[in-house]
Symmetry: D2
């Protein structure tokens, strides 16, 4: 049986590693703040002192770090993954990072004789705990296949999307659609309320029809209650819209609707709502 | 038990009247082409020769006609509803008509001593057969209450939305959101395909996440297969977007995203795709 | 020599009638508030008591009223133009009115045996005084030709644009371009100032190049000084943008850029700047 | 009297260098293809064999190269400017380059003890010949002051805009406004023609009013004649719109109208009109 490493035990990583351990896999964990390893060790994990150790001793090492800087440090830093990787062992970075970071890490791992996969996820805390994430992988195909037994404990949908970069692109495409849906929903709700329609009835009609979706079910009451408790920060959505538009410039795709939505999210960011939930785009619309 | 009339036995009306008959109600039917009454008579309906007769003899008369002209003719024409209505009997027009038509009919019915309700529906043939329409009613509240036993056989969601006009407005709001969602979805799919992502995988990811909805499930394969078999004609969606924008001018609501979507549907109409399905907006985007 | 009537002696009408009198024409004036006639009588005009009298006694009667209601009253009211017109005498309405008002007045005049021309103008007080208006005429060609000696004293550019309605359409087209230019200018200035460029230098560069125009020369310092003293009310511009978009729906012309500009002017209207100058669109952009 | 160098004798550079020589300045020229120096030598210029020689022997060296690659090669290449600059001598790059190129060149020149100014110009061949360019300078203020006697022979408007980068930003702002104006103009013209207005009359009305500008005078007949002979390539305008939008993301400025215009120019680029004149945006609008 393959041995797995897991780097980064934040909210997401902790839940994901626990799922692997509970499934009976041989898992070695590491976290910058070592104390976060204890509950997983109690579940049966081994603990390592550095990313280097993990990468050197496990067949496949997963990582989910908080941002590109942490992803780079964990790979390139002293006692980092790069010092331990090699001999065809795999490194799977599930952090959400920019294109350049993914490419830099991938190239370095490959140059050392390791295999690399980017695998950003769609889904937050609850799906991580339930093992129902959506995993969007790009890079070395054989590594995806080898990691499948683990992915199946983490996600309900595990997709290999092609070469390195395709995982990130899928995420942009999906988030761009989400941004457009939320802009349309917000404008519709605002128009409905100005028409003296009842907000709850509007949500009710949507919920009963072809547009019913978990997002509207979740965000609808937030908009009506003007409660923007953050689950997906608005500034990240605006960044994704910006990156999707940049991608469209490169690939030659017009995006009239997405550009208009981007300006709405941009205005919300400028107005200071960047750290609130994406639902706060409603604040500049209503 | 109340007696019901039903005028207009097209695809929608036929299915709806049949549901009322099967539920055991006393139903009198009429259709411009009388031969369409036979199957319903076989189910137990009475048949009348004119809308006047129906309106004169039934407590509540429902109508679902093909367009505003037919709705006006059935009400105002020789032997029309107006000649039979009165004494508090009810007339419920479920046709999708413009604001002015609804107001003209409502005012005339009321002046004759009848009660009036507009009740446009959301949903097409299948929900009509299954009795799972969404009914958006505006007008005389007491008539809505009296008609509820019938509505419950026709729709899974029967909403009284306020005074005359509110039913039509709800429909505009909902369709405007739908148009924006479809524009976002089309642009996202186009960008994804230009990124060399696999179309089926894009749909798969959406289907697995917070944006999963019957519309994307239905339209997704149509876009990928460039199959625009009409279920909701694009030109009607463009008309609804236009009317929603007109409403926004009156009520003072900015609609940056909906305006951009409207231009996309307008371009599709100009390009000659108005009679194809709303999914054909993709043709000017891809 | 033809005899001229002039109805409506507001800021525009007073200056225009004075130009006709000074040019030596035989002019009969009327105004709702009769006292406004005195200065023109002093210049040599005759005074009449009602629009009917003017229309009955002059070969060609000009009118420039404040709004559609005043234009209708002056034509259709008691002792109105309609009671005096006939025998091929001409009526030229230079008010800015909606399409329907122009058609209604035109049809009534023609039915009485008169000739009709709509002739809205581009230009405000100063050009009216200087006789340098731009006259956009639509309707009866022979009347345009007959009125040319008078037009030449009123405008520097007198255009016959075709049948009734074409004058109003030209005005929409021109104002739509103006709205788009002002939106672009406002966004550019705002971006420049956020870039720490000097506002006066930005205006200077524009003034020196291919985009130099009287509008930017006039509005530029207003934007920098946040002075929105009304010369062309913002709400009228927004109305023209709305009408231009409505025209585009009818004629099948996509207007992506104009729709975006319309939403900006709409937001400025909603924010309460409708009575300020069109330059106040900058207030929702900066 | 200061001695001047001039690198790059394309259409622009040749005309500009000639103006300096004719004004009586001491000018040393260099061009990659040396034969282009002859006419200027005939006018009185000295000729040098390399950029290094020019930069080493002249007080101030001007350059106007075709693109960022040529600008970099001329500075950083073998026998390039960098090898000759120092001791407070000045280098003024008038090429249109991206921000990073300008910064890289500026930093290298300064590190060698030279002074640097970016000075992109607004205007094409004719203004270059006539000495009526608009010069948008950013960088070392003392160098701008020292170069003023030369600038005065090249431009009718010579502006010092602040630190390095401000010249390029001003150009973006100005071109963004230009793109928006052209989009508005194109949509207006298209709507007018669909309204059966006469194209020449539309141009006439614009020419007579507050929007009259050299750009509309030049582009108007091009649009009507569907003649898109390149004076400013459309793809460069689209690039500038893209960069202006990128700048707006960084500075926090919403650009609803410019984003819509950008999508129009992008669609024109995608349709294959990138090498035609900016006027070809009309091809995707009409």
């Amino acid at each position: 049986m393959a041995t797995y490493g897991f780097l980064g035990l934040g909210i997401m990583g902790n839940a994901m590693a626990a799922n692997l351990i509970r499934a009976g896999f041989d898992v070695t964990v590491w976290n910058r703040t070592a104390s976060r390893c204890a509950p997983l060790v109690a579940l049966g994990a081994k603990q390592a002192a550095t990313p280097r150790e993990v990468a050197a001793s496990c067949d496949i090492t997963f990582a989910i770090l908080s941002d590109p800087a942490a992803a780079r440090e964990t790979c390139f830093g002293a006692d980092g993954v790069l010092e331990g990787i090699g001999d065809g062992r795999g490194y799977i970075d599930m952090s959400t990072v920019d294109d350049q970071t993914a490419r830099d890490i991938g190239a370095a791992i490959t140059a050392k004789g390791g295999r690399f996969l980017e695998a950003p996820v769609s889904g937050t805390k609850k799906p991580a705990e339930d093992g129902t994430l959506i995993i969007l992988a790009g890079g070395e195909r054989s590594l995806f296949d080898d990691a499948l037994p683990a992915f199946e404990k983490l996600g309900k949908k595990n997709l290999y999307l092609g070469e390195l970069g395709q995982g990130a692109r899928m995420k942009l495409v999906v988030n761009m659609i989400m941004g457009g849906m939320l802009a349309a929903f917000s404008e519709g709700l605002a128009l409905g309320l100005k028409s003296d329609l009842d907000g709850a009835q509007i949500l009710d009609v949507i919920e009963a029809g072809a547009m019913a979706c978990p997002m509207f079910k979740g965000k609808g009451p937030m908009l009506l209650g003007e409660n923007y408790t953050t689950s997906f920060p608005l500034k990240h959505m605006q960044k994704d819209l910006r990156l999707a538009i940049a991608l469209s410039e490169e690939l030659g795709q017009s995006l009239h609707a997405a550009s208009a939505s981007n300006e709405l999210f941009k205005r919300a960011s400028i107005a200071g709502y960047g750290d609130e939930d994406i639902a706060a785009v409603y604040r500049v619309i209503k």
